[in-house]
Subunit: 203 residues, 4 copies
Amino acid sequence: MVRSVDSPLQTAKAWSRSRRRKQPPDGDTRTRILDAAEELFAGGGYEATPTARIAELAGVPKGLVFHYFPRKIDVLISLVDERTVVVEEEVEADPGDAAGALSRLARRLPLRASPAMRRILFREADTHLSVRERLSRLNAEIIRRARFALELALPGGRGDAARLEAAAATFAAVLLYQESICLLTGHHIDPDAVAELIANALH
Amino acid sequence: MVRSVDSPLQTAKAWSRSRRRKQPPDGDTRTRILDAAEELFAGGGYEATPTARIAELAGVPKGLVFHYFPRKIDVLISLVDERTVVVEEEVEADPGDAAGALSRLARRLPLRASPAMRRILFREADTHLSVRERLSRLNAEIIRRARFALELALPGGRGDAARLEAAAATFAAVLLYQESICLLTGHHIDPDAVAELIANALH
Amino acid sequence: MVRSVDSPLQTAKAWSRSRRRKQPPDGDTRTRILDAAEELFAGGGYEATPTARIAELAGVPKGLVFHYFPRKIDVLISLVDERTVVVEEEVEADPGDAAGALSRLARRLPLRASPAMRRILFREADTHLSVRERLSRLNAEIIRRARFALELALPGGRGDAARLEAAAATFAAVLLYQESICLLTGHHIDPDAVAELIANALH
Amino acid sequence: MVRSVDSPLQTAKAWSRSRRRKQPPDGDTRTRILDAAEELFAGGGYEATPTARIAELAGVPKGLVFHYFPRKIDVLISLVDERTVVVEEEVEADPGDAAGALSRLARRLPLRASPAMRRILFREADTHLSVRERLSRLNAEIIRRARFALELALPGGRGDAARLEAAAATFAAVLLYQESICLLTGHHIDPDAVAELIANALH
DNA sequence: TATGAATGAGCTTTCATTCAT
DNA sequence: AATGAATGAAAGCTCATTCAT
């Protein structure tokens, strides 16, 4: 069964609840290590997190972490690899309602990842290539979908391609960073309002 | 279109040239240490940069770094404190031209900081409170100015306050993170296009 | 007069010989570290002894010291905690012979500790609270025993309580510091002579 | 004018009051450095006191300390040399009253030194030879005087020489360390009571 | 005499990683 | 798979001492 991500605004608590239901009671050792790393990387950052604390939080001996993940960076790589899935599937169009389509995109990012993993994805993007690539694909996918939604709603002008591209990229940027912005500056942005805004802008 | 020297997109080299001309000669050892730290923090991140490498790049003995900055974090704090100035001054209004005003805001962020310092500001926001606060103030100032520019151009509707706020916040988010997005994902966003987009959206 | 093996004046070499025979084999790495620390702390003092030299003398890598003792001070604390036992048990009285009882107390301090540990106990008393507390308890115990020995030998006067207390405290002070005095000033004090002296004084 | 030390129990506050009266308002630079060192060495110990903190407390630049005292150890040496004077002068005898003579000795140690300096003398005895020597001389002088006081009061037996020596040494040990004992263990010893005790013991 | 920047050796401590069991 | 002791390189930081001014 697929982990659904109903909204980028889903809380961390709700996420872990939904995950825990589908897994063995405490999860196997490898999973517990990744769980611990996810929490710690999201909280204090990859560099500032010693492997010893990962092991401690996971409740496993220190040496075991290196049994599953030969180098520390492999924990991060595995985390991103296994716990951030960029969903690249086709979506049905809705010719009449660009704002609605964007709004849906905002509420359901093409990304299966916990809030913690989203944070890691943004924060550790320059720690390792694999993280950056994942983020890049996510960004591209959001842009692709936003462009698709907007194209249908537009009469199809000529020089409008550039504006459309800018609109899609803007929408992606806001979606990706609204969470970080809110965490860092306390300033909340309503994705639906942005969706409507962008859709309006192209009329 | 040509990027002016004042643009946030000016190169690192151009920045340091312009700064050196006007900074007081406050003993260049401390300055060299900060220069080195600025470069290294921007490149590899605060946590991943040993003080020894800062000293090495600055061409000073290791101990001297701690003469000026008792703790490593003080280097970061001083850097942000002294090299990122959020400009909070009044700007002239231009009632007729919201897009132009936003465009000008994009080209001339209310922030005096080198590209490297901007990178540090965004990247190390959760490393220390002082960085987060500076970023927060910058974000608030951009929103304030964007709101101001848009207000004048609007007929002055009733329930439009929320839309206006969302537009301003969106604009700020994109401006702040366009540079990071570009670096991380390679996807470039044209600030002028975003300015026009946002302005259009509110008509 | 021959110093018995139980005497506080037994040599360091004799002590370690006797200990090694009966100590449980509790992983000898930790023990070797403590042995080395005991020797070095006694010789040059806690502050003047680098952990690196402890490791070196113990024949273990530097990092291992911190595996067992997270902070340097923990080595001292553990040393005092595990290697200085203040014996607080009841002793049989000897009503007729106060001098003899004191003499026995002098020869057999209510303290199980090597000469080196005794030195550390006295020298590092203001380095850490735990050391001071141990020394305090030792002092109190000697006083308690001395008072007990003297009480029996006294006819049981009225205002003699104060004199008795002073005598006991004096005896304790001399016993505790005779070793230090001898080391520092070269002046030797015979505990037996002091015992006889104090006993006589109360008649 | 000579600094009088009326009693080993004179408080630190009283001492500094009496000294300040006879000196120029803040004392010259060298004096201020020694004052600061005296306070810090007494408080935290020689090894644990950085020269920088001495300078700071003295209110002089760091470099100046090394102008007056080329090596850190010279501060300690000068302190002991100049601020602990062992008084080796003849005293009038009082044939009838051994207890009184000892009591007077206790109240007026043959040592001109502040309480802080006394603490330094005992604590840093194995830090440097010159300190140890000073302590040794002080001990010897106390013993000499105690012996002198006791000799007169005794009938003058033959084998009593050893007992007399032990008594004198005991008295010295208690006097020297009563202050330390009190500080470390909180156990107070009344010098007068000890004086009477020792005097009684030899009858 | 006064000053504080400069120097570098050495300190405590951290940590990724290895390894024997 | 599991365990935690072992390892040593390197980190942040301290500090006595020097030196140019």
